[in-house]
């Protein structure tokens, strides 16, 4: 029997797949972003359409229930994404500092000419 959570997961999966595809197509995101979000979308689609896959995965990973398996995998993925966002953020912060410094010295040089 199809429950509301399965419909929700299916729709969210479709949304991730379609949205990440369109973002890459419109050159607003990189292919690697599509791979990450596309994988998330496809996983949601499969788990919602064929819930037995979740049971197989739970057994394979030695986790008690299908729900816990999905939660555990989602948390791992979120950690990865968080780490990536954090390093990207730090890198951008550093780049802004460098730009800030270069701009100020350039402006100073121009003012002195």
């Amino acid at each position: 029997m199809v429950s509301l959570i399965h419909v929700g997961g299916f729709l969210l999966g479709c949304y991730f797949l379609l949205r990440s595809y369109l973002l890459v197509k419109n050159k607003k995101e990189e292919v690697q972003d599509f791979l990450v979000w596309g994988t998330v979308g496809a996983s949601l689609l499969v788990l919602s359409a064929v819930p037995q896959v979740g049971d197989l995965l739970a057994e394979y990973l030695s986790i008690r229930t299908r729900t816990n398996t999905i939660f555990a995998l989602s948390i791992f993925l979120l950690y990865l994404l968080m780490f990536r966002m954090h390093t990207l953020n730090r890198d951008l912060y550093r780049q802004i500092s460098v730009l800030n410094e270069e701009l100020s010295l350039l402006r100073h040089r121009l003012e002195n000419q």
């Binding site: 802004i96 500092s97 800030n100 410094e101 701009l103 100020s104 010295l105 402006r107 100073h108 002195n112």
Partner: protein, 224 residues
């Protein structure tokens, strides 16, 4: 001996004119680094006769000093003086710093060689003492005020040091200088607690101080 003073300033319109006017008596050129001020720091410093390099964004004292060092070293000085723009550092000590730098690479103005440090609150005093102890232990030094921003460098020494981080630059820079075999000397400088303008040490700064100490120590011990 060509001497250039670098003054990092963030919203120091109230004091910068007085600082520039006093520092001018002892150095050849003054560079004020306006670190993204929202008041009239830039115009006031220009009016007082300093060269002003302006950051579009506020990035911290370390970033301002990094820019200031670059601007100063481009002018080929023999000595670079670093002094705060809030008048906490008395410019009349500059001749003593210049005298001391003739026999060393870096001279630090210390508030712990006189009673003026007693006016600071316990948190800040403990922090400075702790950082100085770390510097002395790791760098085989004997400094008393490693966080002091009143410093004097030989330009040749400053060129050898790597660019500063945006914040918490003092300990790292001092340790790097020690590891590179530079001679670091201290002279007694009275530094009263800031009376004018807005201090960078607000409640948030004090609350985060212990965490920043730990952060800095880990960085020094493991990554440097």
């Amino acid at each position: 001996m060509k001497t250039i003073a670098v003054i990092p300033a963030h919203n120091e319109a109230e004091t910068i004119q007085k600082v520039v006017a006093e520092v001018k008596k002892y150095v050849h050129e003054i560079i004020v680094v306006d670190d993204g001020s929202t008041d009239s720091t830039r115009d006031t410093a220009l009016g007082a006769g300093a060269a002003v390099v302006s950051h579009a964004l506020n990035r911290g004292v370390g970033a301002a000093l990094r820019t200031g060092y670059r601007a100063a070293l481009n002018r080929d000085p023999d000595v670079v003086i670093q002094i705060d723009g809030d008048f906490q550092h008395d410019p009349s000590y500059i001749p003593r710093l210049l005298e001391a730098v003739e026999k060393s690479d870096i001279v630090i103005g210390s508030r712990f060689l006189n009673p003026s440090h007693k006016n600071y609150n316990l948190t800040r005093r403990s922090g400075i003492k702790f950082f100085s102890w770390v510097a002395n232990t790791l760098g085989s030094l004997s400094v008393t005020d490693v966080t002091s921003g009143f410093r004097c460098y030989r330009a040749s020494a400053l060129r050898q040091l790597t660019p500063l981080t945006d914040q918490h630059w003092a300990l790292e820079q001092t340790l790097e200088a020690a590891r590179k075999g530079m001679t670091i000397k201290e002279i007694s400088v009275e530094m009263p607690v800031r009376g004018e303008g807005r201090s960078q040490f607000d409640l948030e700064t004090y609350a985060l101080y212990p965490f920043k100490m730990v952060d800095c120590i880990i960085k020094i011990l493991i990554f440097r």
